[in-house]
Symmetry: C2
Subunit: 478 residues, 2 copies
């Protein structure tokens, strides 16, 4: 590990991000343009996130399936908005098995086309509905400017695809899954998020509504953390998914889709990290507790190890992900810095004097606070200590968001504020897409979300001054 | 579900397989050639298998990572045997983001090229070794003749890739992971497997040794169930993965790779199924116990449901994957047949007379045996009942394999036997690849495996009669 100082968040947030991802050994670029190699410390965070989300997806009645990677181009092209949105980003397979293919195949940028083509065979009667399926896979959307985790050509995600007999049921599903995303973002990744709906300009290609969760990173920029789409009957019509309703009439099915990606690993870095590196929520930390033994000679090492190893075993038995760092080639100070960069929530320092006194020093990654704890009490108290760090991390991020969410009193104040300090800016909106585009051009901010139902702000549009018909929350975003 | 009779295994095993996979709703073909849509009942079997294997991969010290889908063609071409073996099967991306690419990209047929290219950056000193990494992903090998789960262009798998400082350590790793595969095949999927090494003709392109587990399907054909490769220094040299050893000298790293795929879902169908459909090992059955209520009127339905629902809840609490099939549009007989095709290990039939007597009929999918059990005792006894079915399924498959493993006494007997009844045929082999090819041409059988260390069979080659230098086990195979 490099021992140079990290760039600070304040001086150069993008450089800080790149260096933390590198030094924490989370990921690196692959040889093909826009590709990413996810290393163990990054992948394990994703695995813990996956498990938490998958449990909730199943608990809400969904089953996992797997649809293929390759989609015939002609299939992708059936839903007009959808193909218009995704065609420019598609990677195309033209040769297979040494021969040119009769029809080129797209690597899935998302799977609605293939899923709804298949649903047309699976759905005949209202009794076949709802279809509640999800898949974990990789997708590919060609990108020129990439950033590890946040924007890469290939990324990992889950994509849920459901079909319903009524509009109301589909909308309820889209809302239910957004709520699942909110739970995972807040309760697992400790990232507070706003929920709402996107404007037409920011909608998923082919959706009637896109719902979203939006988080705030420590540089004041917003990050879209997950989206849930109400597809109306658009895909039902385009792919001819019809069912006989209880009254014996043919109808097109109503749809939803929703996705949550590896970008959330990047969000976890940017929502919690500090100038010393990652600060990981215990719920997803690959290592929750690290024990660093301290000794200057063989006698001391023997004495410390005799206590450190049983302590490690007791913590592991208590269900804690613990590591005893007994590497001989590194000094304690080096190890402290390494586990700080890697965001391990609790460090236990254990030296000969600690062993003699039956106590050890526990250091919280949250704020560096040190506490002496009786060695015999460490294992029993650790689950609650970690839960408390999880809560505090969330509370700190929420306080940061509150301090950085502003009511817009004038357009100039908003334009200056969003440039100088970032954050969320809330105000009236006329509902006009041209006005929205104008504001974006002037401020580099976009409407991150509107409330689920239009809310009359009782205030004119922050830009054009016409009567506001909704409340918009603006920010610069990743 | 179709209510026509299934083809029998005896009359037409391939047709039986196709129909069982279809009626059990495990998978179907996708629109792109050779692609497969895995449906919930098939995918859940894979998920349970994955979890069992992933736990063991981690318990043996490996960490999960993710390498990209796309590999620059020039990278794939560095190891001569490797590219010769895989180039004909590669799907090639030539366009991305609306433009022709400067260099075509291969969809990974396997990831050695990308992994070892990356390892050259990760390895400098012997202290960096071993690298013990694994990934769960999709790979693509162009196939003309496909069969669901057994042979599809895209399939799901895990691929482990390790690098070591010595040949002995790498070989030990290859053996260790083969043993992990044996455990999962036998203890989880209840499929008895032989372990051994492949002949040079059957080796993985680029490996010095390929170790394998081989199972026997109920039609007498063998199926390769997993492979673990000792790569020697071939990839270390081709991708320049060098390390400074403890004596300060540069050496190339030694490698292994090992893979286990969704084909094992197909193996589970073919190793255990009978003329009524699937018989699933409880360890991977998506539903382990189904409760089918029986009633002829509303009063009876109320009485039965009042007992069935609490029974379901108690089974679920006991950690059993249970389903109460209270669908109103189907009769009990239809449900029995459906859950039989889907291979649910235990069916509970619950009618008004059962409720009155406090007993229910339990039917084992293993052999159709019925047993009356006090309703209050069902939940507490179920884990052991399922464990016993798991053991019996394995014992039955092992007895079948023993009955179908033959010592070769003459070439003619072997040639006739392998054609008429299939099975494994064991005899002396001269070690000559030309003789091996000759036998394959005459019998359509191949050498499935050799013992780990050459064993002098004390018998001449079964074909050419020259002195046997090893013992070969032959079979026709998928």
């Amino acid at each position: 590990m490099s021992t140079d100082k990290l760039p600070t968040q304040h001086d150069d947030f993008p450089a800080w991000y790149v260096e933390v991802v590198r030094r924490a050994e989370m990921a690196e670029h692959g040889p093909a343009k826009g590709s990413m190699i996810i290393k163990p410390h990054g992948y394990a965070i994703w695995e813990h996130t996956q498990r938490a989300l998958d449990d909730r997806i199943k608990a809400t009645g969904h089953e996992n399936v797997y649809f293929p990677l390759l989609i015939p181009m002609s299939l992708l092209e059936r839903e007009a908005d959808h193909v218009e949105g995704f065609a420019p980003q598609v990677a195309v397979v033209t040769h297979g098995g040494g021969e040119k293919l009769e029809e080129p195949l797209a690597i899935r940028p998302t799977s609605e086309a293939l899923v709804w083509h298949t649903y047309s065979r699976w759905v005949q009667s209202y009794r076949d509905l709802p279809l509640l399926y999800n898949q974990w896979n990789n997708v590919l959307r060609w990108e020129m400017r990439t950033r590890l985790f946040l924007r890469t050509s290939e990324f990992l995600w889950q994509e849920g695809h459901t079909a319903h007999a009524t509009s109301a049921e589909a909308m309820e599903e889209a809302r239910r899954m957004l709520e699942v995303y909110r739970e995972v973002a807040e309760d697992v990744l400790a990232i507070p998020v706003f929920t709402g709906r996107k404007t037409a300009a920011e909608r998923f290609p082919g959706a009637d509504e896109t719902l979203c969760i939006e988080g705030l990173m420590r540089d004041g920029k917003a990050l879209q953390c997950g989206t849930s789409h109400f597809l109306g009957q658009n895909f039902g019509r385009a792919y001819d998914v019809k069912f006989l309703n209880a009254s014996g009439e043919q109808e097109h099915a109503w749809g939803t889709s929703w996705g949550f990606t590896t970008r959330m690993v990047g969000a976890t870095v940017m929502a919690h990290g500090d100038d010393a590196g990652l600060r990981l929520p215990p719920a997803v930390a690959p290592i929750q507790v690290v024990i660093v033994p301290i000794h200057r000679n063989d006698d001391e090492r023997a004495a410390v190890t005799a206590v450190a190893e049983p302590l490690r075993a007791r913590l592991a038995e208590a269900g804690i992900r613990v590591r005893l760092d007994d590497r001989e080639q590194h000094r304690p100070g080096y190890k402290f810095a390494e586990w700080e960069v890697k965001g391990v929530p609790v460090r236990i320092e254990l030296g000969p004097r600690d062993v003699a006194s039956g106590k050890a020093v526990l250091v919280s990654r949250l704020d560096g606070a040190k506490e002496e704890v009786a060695i015999d009490d460490i294992a029993t108290g650790m689950a609650e200590r970690l839960a408390s760090i999880q809560r505090d991390l969330f509370a700190e991020a929420r306080a940061f968001r509150e301090a950085n969410t502003h009511q817009i009193t004038s357009f100039d104040e908003f334009a200056r504020g969003v440039d100088e300090v970032g954050g969320f800016w809330v105000g009236g909106w006329c509902g006009d897409a041209a006005c929205e585009a104008d504001v974006s051009a002037k401020t580099k901010a976009s409407i991150r979300f509107l409330p689920f139902e239009p809310v009359d702000p009782g205030a004119p549009c922050i830009h054009c001054g016409k009567p506001g018909i909704d409340t918009a929350t603006w920010a610069r975003a990743y």
